[in-house]
């Protein structure tokens, strides 16, 4: 008789890495659709190029490691599809074809595969790819924002500026758009995926329901950014919504910062980490007057080991922090 011999436990939860990654892809679909509706076929071209080159890079890399193509197909876990999608979504639809291609190759080959592949990268590949694009192709990246096809923004914003940069440099009164416009993305300029916050919100809710991420993680980032921005602008709550509805913070908070691999391990560490990330975004935006979300995520990714070291869960049965403080106080009194 043939029976399977394997390790305990013999019953397992149905969820696998592949399922999780597919869930993330499903959660990104609304944003992809919104991007294509807003920016036309060019957006689709950018997304296709970046996803295709991400997957191709991983394939070529595995061939270089002398792995069989069949093995590649069997072990393929869709992480490079997500990298490609996120990278494409964080680019403008007007970029030339080589920008998504080269950034995707950089993101997958250098940032992910060189460090050991899935689960071993120390920074988020998509974010790193975007930063790479910004630095390597500065001219095309900053000059060419496309207008979304909807909305009434003729002349309300200076050429070459996003809503965020004008808010940052001239204050919220110069925005010329309602918060609803910002939320729906009508009449905005910007990256393919960052425009329609509604689509991202749907993705967020999906991830929360499927328990891929805890729903409060992006909320922590957004609230910290919003409140810090308000605080930095002398408690002017007019900044509250624009600060989170403009720029890349929404996409970053929901999909990029919550990436498993580049987040701390325990839940408490995650809470603190996301709070720090949100605050840092607001502070650096205020100081530099440009969009900094991807840089901040990159920076915070590098600090993950510190968070892991400081915030460890209290072992069941070990004295909690409260009890420790009490014991310390009791000792002092005894002295």
């Amino acid at each position: 008789m043939n029976v399977i011999i394997s390790d305990t436990p013999h019953v397992r939860k149905r969820r696998t890495t592949k399922n999780i990654m597919l869930d993330v892809i499903i959660a990104l679909i609304p944003a992809v659709i919104a991007g294509i509706v807003f920016f036309g076929y060019k957006a689709a071209v950018v997304l296709i190029i970046s996803v295709a080159s991400s997957v191709a890079t991983e394939f070529v890399y595995s061939l270089c490691l002398k792995k069989k193509p069949a093995d590649f197909v069997r072990n393929f876990d869709f992480t490079s599809v997500i990298t490609g999608l996120l990278l494409g979504l964080s680019l403008s639809s007007t970029v030339p074809w080589y920008v998504p291609l080269l950034s995707a190759v950089f993101a997958v080959a250098v940032v992910k595969m060189l460090f050991g592949g899935t689960g071993k990268n120390i920074v988020n590949p998509a974010v790193c790819g975007r930063v790479f694009a910004f630095i390597a192709f500065q001219a095309v990246m900053i000059s060419g924002w496309a207008d979304a096809v909807f909305g009434p923004v003729e002349g309300s914003i200076k050429a070459g500026a996003t809503v965020l940069t004008s808010v940052l440099s001239e204050g919220v009164s110069a925005m010329g758009l309602t918060n609803l416009d910002l939320f729906l993305g009508t009449g905005l300029q910007g990256c393919i995926g960052e425009t329609c916050k509604l689509a991202l919100l749907i993705g967020w809710i999906y991830l929360g329901i499927r328990k891929v991420i805890r729903w409060e993680y992006p909320l922590i980032i957004l609230l910290c950014t919003a409140f810090t921005t308000v605080f930095l602008n002398k408690a002017d709550f007019a900044y509250f919504l624009p600060s989170i509805l403009s720029g890349g913070i929404f996409l970053g908070a929901v999909f990029m910062a919550t990436d498993y691999v580049t987040s701390p391990s325990s839940r408490v560490a995650k809470y603190v980490y996301y709070a720090c990330l949100g605050i840092l975004v607001a502070v650096l935006r205020h100081a530099t007057k440009i969009e900094v979300v991807s840089f901040v995520i990159l920076l915070m990714n590098l600090t993950v080991p510190i968070f892991n070291r400081i915030f460890r869960p209290v072992i069941f049965g070990a004295p909690s922090i409260k009890e420790k403080l009490k014991a310390r106080a009791a000792k002092k009194e005894a002295k």
Binding site: V3, T8, P9, V11, R12, K13, T16, V261, S263
Partner: protein, 431 residues
């Protein structure tokens, strides 16, 4: 009647308990086969020393191997017949142990132990030791040792959680032998010298809760349905609100934990003068033709038990000895039952999952469910890197109870429990 809800255990996992397969099937006596093979190492500690020779005639209930030291247990013959010889054979987890072979004459000539003159603390403990009773939940720790802790306990906690999926042997005992189990619990309490008895029962056994609630001297705690609710430390926390400190034993917080099957064995040993040579086992799983709860004599071949239950279906994918969370896989059915075997499971491919591991994606699911609040992914990582000290420091490997929750949830199908076991062994061998 005292019923209260147990303290909420925030971690752990919720499983499909699959108990419906064998839950409503009454305990049935499994006829002993012609040849039985009784292990000398059915407990933690040194194996027992045989006191019979080849060719000897033994009665059912006769001592055939004597405990060697304190942490060891007597072994009794489960049938009457002649001793055929001695042999070495592997147990389910692969370790090689000594066995005594006895040819069953089919007469079941039974010789009980000498009747107890009176029932005080000392005589009950002596009887428990004499009858070879061990913790029947799976650990196999001699009960007599457990009942004489260094610190005087004030509470006896009875583990009626039975949190492992599929297993229903304790449930059946609670339903069918309620009075006997209750009497056994009282005897254990007497041996310990405690008056406070807490019985923890999981919420999915409402009929047991109802039955036990009729006893005035017990406090019934309704536990949340979660795995590992039956782990000593978590059971104590849920039942009494006390946390066993890191590196300490339950007796340090004044608690002693025993399970239902052990209580029943104590009842039999003290009231009926019957040594421990048979126990209730659950035979379950979707690949078994007739799931059952059987009263199995020690040393019965698993193959015979499965045949008695109608055999295996063609869809059998895996055979497990014990519960599916902690029990080892069986390579063959050529194994023999013992005091600690709570079940045999035949799982089909829809129930089990043995995909190959992939890289850790640091999703943190294992840390979210770890009932000991450890960082299993860190232990796994450092063990793979052969840095065992770091695994101890960062992950807290010493506190692991090997419940398997981390491996259960791991989306990358990593063998985290095995990593932890390896790490513990390496740390122990280094000292």
């Amino acid at each position: 009647m005292k019923i209260r809800k147990g303290k909420f255990l925030s971690r752990g996992i919720r499983l499909h308990d699959m108990k419906f397969l064998a839950k409503d099937i009454p305990i049935e006596v499994m006829p002993a086969p012609e040849i039985i093979s009784i292990s000398l190492g059915q407990h933690i500690g040194k194996p027992a020393v045989p006191v019979v020779k080849e060719g000897d005639f033994v009665y059912q209930g006769q001592l055939i191997a004597q405990a060697d030291g304190v942490v060891s247990a007597n072994v009794y013959s489960s049938v009457s017949g002649t001793v055929e010889g001695f042999e070495k054979r592997p147990v389910a987890n692969g370790a090689i142990k000594d066995y005594i072979l006895i040819r069953n004459d089919g007469n079941y000539m039974y010789r009980p132990l000498d009747p107890l003159p009176d029932r005080n603390k000392e005589t009950v403990i002596a009887r428990i030791r004499e009858a070879g009773i061990v913790g029947m939940g799976g650990a196999g720790f001699p009960t007599a040792v457990k009942l004489a802790p260094k610190q005087t306990p004030d509470t006896l906690v009875i583990n009626g959680a039975e949190c492992e999926p599929y297993l229903t042997c304790d449930y059946r005992l609670m339903v069918e032998k309620t009075d006997e189990v209750a009497q056994g619990i009282r005897l254990i309490a007497k041996a310990l010298g405690v008056t406070k008895i807490v019985v923890g029962i999981e919420k999915n056994k409402p009929d047991c809760i109802e039955k036990f609630a009729s006893y005035e001297d017990f406090e019934i705690v309704v536990l949340r349905k979660a795995y590992p609710m039956g782990s000593e430390k978590h059971l104590i926390y849920s039942c009494t609100g006390r946390k066993v400190p890191v590196g300490k034993l339950p007796s340090d917080v004044g608690c002693v934990v025993n399970n239902i099957a052990t209580a029943y064995a104590v009842y039999e040993a003290v009231e009926l003068d019957k040594p421990l040579f048979e126990r209730v086992m659950t035979v379950s799983g979707k690949a078994i033709v007739h799931p059952a709860n059987l009263l199995v004599k020690n040393g019965t071949r698993f193959d015979d038990i499965i045949t008695h239950c109608g055999g295996l279906r063609d869809t059998t994918a895996m055979l497990v000895s014990g519960g599916p969370m902690m029990g080892p896989c069986m390579i063959s059915t050529d194994l023999y039952s013992g005091k600690t075997d709570s079940g045999i499971l035949a799982l089909d491919s829809s129930e089990t999952d043995s995909r190959n591991p992939s890289p850790c994606i640091n999703c943190g699911a294992c840390a979210e469910v770890c009932p000991m609040h450890l960082l299993p992914m860190m232990i796994d990582f450092y063990t793979q890197a052969r840095d065992y000290q770091k695994a101890r420091e960062v992950g807290g490997v010493d506190n692991c109870i090997s419940c398997g929750c981390c491996s259960y949830v791991c989306p990358a199908r990593r063998a985290i429990v095995q990593s932890i076991t390896l790490c513990k062994q390496k740390l122990a061998s280094k000292g």
